[in-house]
Symmetry: C2
Subunit: 362 residues, 2 copies
């Protein structure tokens, strides 16, 4: 992996990653020249005891680009800069111009609830220079590079003592609110472990203390033995519709043996994980012969400097459709109670994905 | 309050409620004649340690009504029965034909995860006979009756030893997935306290043990003193945009003094709570001169037979819009991390609602 780190005129960081050496790239462009003046702050929810970020300046976005303007394209005309330079890079990561969390955030304004500075980091991860491609259409070696990029970001961003959790994710499709269709994801780095991974850590820790094994490790062993819901089974990685799926086409992508973070993947594990990921993405898009929307989230161990033998790196995909035409809305019971209700059995949805044949080496 | 309980031909229960005596209603109609053959089951999520309901028969709905058919209208032609009879009822409650949870549910099929029968209850609450009305347009006395209905359902449904939590809610608007626009809500009764209220109970209990007071009680006292985000202030009830709102137009509706469940409301509290509720609903609809979509959830104490001095009945409204034209999508950070990010300050949204004047007595 070759990397090049640059600084944009407004002070934001840009890192370029590539499989081949990077040469002749000198400048990091930016559609913005002035540093952002304000910073986000946190308020604590009194009844749920969890943080909420307020980044009111996100409303200030006076920058109204024409519809054909793509800030994730490379800059062709220096008078109309985008976020990215020309050059032979494969993956690019830069600081979000309107971050929900930012390093060195100011003190929060006073409130009747507990407050804190909105410390953290929000990065944009551009998967490829080709705006018409998608994560699942990239070659395996490119997806492997992306797994290395996520490892590099986890190590670099997570090294900060004020960062406790690094979450790479992708929102894909207009159905989940995406307006910019150039293939990209995001990384959020949090000053404390957020509620959902905190809950998962708590469950995993209790299980590990009781059994000396990982809860996902044991679940994967059962999924492999049962085989009913398997979507991909490699030597080191696996994809399945989990027996307790909360979304109709939910899948989990994981190494078979526990690996705490992206940084702990061996070469063979990474290669097979790339293959697993590409397999399910190709199946998703082949299912209805159209780009399949989803939220993809990668859970890993907290970056708190402690060992986490209970953690097990994996992705969870939450697609918004329950059938080709019908969206699954999260409503009363899901949002208000946190109790999911499913019309579809995981076994039936797995069968649909199993019946699609794809060639990841083509 | 006058009530009449009837049984539908397929065995489901129907209860009619009214302010005036109910006479001459003998039959409970139903679009379905045969009892439902299958029942829901639960599976336990191994990583989150929470239940998910599977009600696969919901997909079986072979009943495909014409678009103008309204099952919540009263039956006019006995050959084309709806869910409701003619008569002078104001509010009606009946068992959902396709429940996510049902009394006496069968044993779950075997799985690699922990399973349980899908015990519980799902009810439909029809707010009025007028399909063109809405909760906020009903007279105060009608809304007071609805608060009594919720109390009656909490008492009756919650009396079952297999019911631990009763959650009344309303999904309003196509934006939150509602296809049936006749004014109605739902009640879900759960066999254990679901994750979100369980978390709130845990926080409230710890606070109560530490201080001898309610966490919402103290928060309301601060909101009243601060006054910045108040939307309604009555003698017994209050409405405000909470200082740590997670949705742009989120409001909470509550009694000022803690009341554990709907059953514990005094007459004056209930009357003022109805006024508070109507006020915010009228403001919502006046904001953009169109029906304002939302999820409304009523949190109350668990129905586990134990006293809950830490509990405080209240409604939380989660509207899907962040501006008149733009939806707030729950994406990576909200869904995957449980860490909400807000573009708007609660103080600004409260001001918008404060500036709207409505007359609830008109």
């Amino acid at each position: 992996m070759h990397t090049l780190q640059l600084t944009k005129p407004d002070g934001r960081s840009l890192t370029l990653y590539s499989r081949a050496p990077l040469e002749g790239i000198a400048d990091a462009p930016s559609p913005f020249l002035e540093p952002l003046g304000r910073s986000p702050h946190l308020r604590r929810h009194p009844l749920r005891d969890e943080w909420i970020t307020y980044a009111a300046y996100r409303q200030d976005r006076t920058f109204l680009p024409p519809p054909e303007y793509n800030p994730l394209a490379v800059t062709v005309d220096p008078a109309a800069p985008t976020e990215l330079p020309q050059g032979a890079w494969d993956v690019a990561v830069f600081d979000n111009r309107f971050p929900s969390l930012a390093p060195g955030a100011d003190e929060a304004p006073p409130s009747i609830v507990e407050t804190a500075p909105g410390t953290g980091k929000c990065e944009v991860v551009v998967f490829t220079q080709d705006r018409l491609s998608s994560l699942g259409r990239l070659p395996l070696s490119h997806i492997e590079l992306l797994l290395q990029v996520w490892a590099d970001r986890t190590a670099k961003v997570g090294a900060g003592t004020d960062i406790q959790y690094v979450l790479p994710f992708e929102n894909r499709g207009a159905e989940v609110g995406v307006t910019l269709h150039h293939p990209h994801g995001q990384i959020y780095a949090y000053p404390s472990v957020p509620p959902v991974p905190a809950r998962m850590q708590q469950v995993a820790q209790a299980y590990y203390e009781r059994t000396g094994r990982g809860v996902l490790q044991d679940h994967i062993a059962k999924e492999i033995e049962d085989a009913q819901r398997l979507v991909y089974r490699g030597e080191y990685a696996v994809v399945f519709v989990p027996a307790a799926a909360r979304y109709p086409y939910e899948v989990w992508v994981a190494t078979i043996d526990p690996v705490a973070t992206f940084c702990d993947l061996s070469g063979p594990q990474r290669a097979d994980l790339a293959r697993a990921l590409k397999t399910v993405l190709m199946k998703y898009d082949a299912l209805w012969h159209r780009p399949f929307p989803y939220l993809m989230a990668w859970y890993q161990a907290p970056t708190d400097g402690r060992p986490h033998p209970e953690s097990h790196l994996h992705a969870e995909f939450y697609p918004p459709y329950r059938t080709r035409e019908r969206l699954k809305y999260l409503a009363g019971t899901e949002i208000a109670a946190g109790w999911f209700a499913m019309d579809a059995l995981p076994e039936d949805k797995a069968l649909e994905l199993q019946q699609i044949h794809v060639d990841v080496d083509a």
